[in-house]
Amino acid sequence: MSKSLYVQAINRALHEEMDRDPDVLCIGEDIGPMGGLFGATRGLHERFGAERVIDTPISEAGYTGAAIGMAMEGLRPVVEIQFADFVTVAFDQLNTVAAKMHFLLSGLAKVPLVVRLPYGVNLAGEGYMSGHGPHHSQSPEAWFCHMAGMKVVMPSGPADALGLLKAAIRDNSPVMFFEQKGLYETASEALPEGEHVVPIGKAAVVCEGSDVTVIATGATVGLARAVAERLRAEGVSLEVVDPRTLVPLDTEALVASAIKTGRVVITHEAPSTGGFGGEIAARIAEQAFGRLHAPIRRVCGLDMPVPDGKNNALPNEERIEAAVRNVLESG
């Protein structure tokens, strides 16, 4: 079977959902004839027309808010924010309205909104996605995890991107959908044929192991997997777990793996301070403290804006491997 890229998987999910449900529409900057900055909406304009693939002015607050209004009326808008970084312009709409509407109206109002957020950089440090400096490289998922009322989804590969985006579009809550933009053109795998929906809120064990659990999201899953392969030759067995959804978090799966191995490393691209790794560490500590043989370690972005170009500000295989060795040695 031929392989699909991460960006193609997203494109397929949009096509399938727009085909399936006439209430689904896309809205954002340059998503029409251009097909989106990263090509995720390619072909949608030709297929579904300008009324369902709406090109907007550079007005994130305006069109995100408008999408919330459409969602309250029963449509299912999928907003593309060109770079996740620009979501700050629409923050008020998302926090004040989208995240709270369901609660304020005692569950009567649904906000079936998806916001697609290309985030991060190509961690291999190559080419166009290798970093655009501090305004185009951030991983801002934690902001939304803290909002209460949002679901937060972060697929690490094409099949999950396809299945989770379809689930997000069908969900009646606002979903912040984080697409790792370094993966768009680099991650590829064969996609399941036919309907493929991945439930929101379920972690995946990417590879099984017994010595150390590495919990990774987005592009750091690939790094963790590479480290697992390398260390296998030395007889060290890593279990890589990808939460896939941060809110709601599959705590049970993460704790089960932590108990199984007794050693945990958590890695993500976002800075460690206030990053979601802290929440994961806290939950494991709350539920499995006595079963751990070593302190939990985090391998995250450094606590600084992301610099331009190649540098050491973001996680890499070496740092993950060092953390794994550290938890193996300490206990």
């Binding site: 002015p57 550079i58 007005s59 700050t88 970093g131 655009h132 305004h135 610099p307 331009d308 540098n311």
Partner: protein, 300 residues
């Protein structure tokens, strides 16, 4: 003594060659990340900024900032080194193409968010009685950002020495002006009681004259001014991403290339000297940048 015209030609030519070189370097894999060039729009930088004093006045530019930067600072070397991620770059190689900051020059990659900050800078400069004019450059697409209108209101209410320059190149990435900008651009500022000027040529001498009256007015009254300049970029939005009709681009290149427009007004010998010097300067800057240390390791 160099005439205004010779200075404009020199600046525009250096900016043009610098940016063509950057695009070449991208293709050669000498640069990662992204860049936005102002090829075709150089007259705005040269014509407007010649009225500003880099010791006193302040500029806040956007993602397409190379021309503004060079016209204000003449720092060709720092720019190339920054875009190639070298420690010798304007920001030590940490910012890249759309984060050039040096002295009174700032730039930023988020549409519109520069306008509030420029408003605050104008207010601070007024408080300090520095006599500075703060200039913020935005594109037609950036007219979509609500923060702009909040600031036009405040700048007018508070009588701030702020000059807003809209470089209308008729596109925001793939989006043509017709799909993004309703009504009249200058009437938007006029509605806040801000005086406006609109120019429909890329002739640097005309831009220079209009900008001169604008800056003079701001210095005399301390009040804001809003200027709309018609322009066109001959290059893609950043690198390969161009959805415009090639015939349209060619037509604009033939009719409104700001460098070609004034070339004949210069003495041919002087012109050749200017061109040669610019070629040499850009080539040397490229070589120096590539020889400089890469800005790699950072510390939190």
């Amino acid at each position: 003594m160099t005439s205004d015209l010779a200075r404009f030609y020199q600046q525009m030519y250096v900016i043009r060659r610098l940016e063509e070189t950057l695009l070449e370097m991208f293709s050669a894999g000498e640069i990662n990340g992204t860049t936005h060039t102002c090829i075709g729009q150089e007259a705005t930088a040269a014509g407007v900024i010649s009225h500003l004093d880099s010791e006193r006045d302040v500029i806040f530019s956007n993602h397409r900032c190379h021309g503004h930067y060079v016209a204000f600072t003449d720092d060709v070397e720092g720019l190339i080194a920054e875009v190639t991620g070298r420690t010798t770059g304007t920001c030590g190689g940490k910012g890249g193409s759309q984060h050039l900051c040096r002295g009174n020059f700032y730039s930023n990659g988020i549409q519109g968010s520069i306008v509030p900050v420029a408003t605050g800078i104008a207010l601070a400069e007024r408080e300090r009685k520095s006599g500075a004019v703060t200039t913020v450059f935005i594109g037609d697409g950036t007219l979509g950002q609500g923060a702009l209108y909040e600031c036009l209101n405040m700048a007018s209410l508070w009588r701030l020495p702020l000059m807003v320059v809209v470089e209308n190149n008729h596109y925001a990435q793939s989006t043509p002006e017709e799909l993004a900008v309703s009504g009249s651009i200058s009437a938007r500022a006029a509605a806040f009681g801000i005086p406006t000027a609109e120019i429909t040529t890329t002739d640097v001498e005309e831009i220079h004259a209009t900008a001169g009256s604008a800056v003079e007015r701001i210095r005399a009254t301390g009040e804001p001014f809003f200027m709309v300049l018609d322009t066109y970029r001959f290059s893609p939005h950043s690198k390969g991403d161009d959805t415009r009709d090639p015939a349209e681009i060619e037509a604009r290149r033939a009719s409104s290339d700001p460098i070609a427009l004034i070339a004949d007004r210069l003495d041919p010998e002087l012109r050749a000297d200017i061109e040669q010097a610019a070629e040499r300067r850009v080539a040397d800057a490229r070589e120096a940048a590539l020889a400089a240390p890469v800005a790699g390791a950072v510390q939190a």
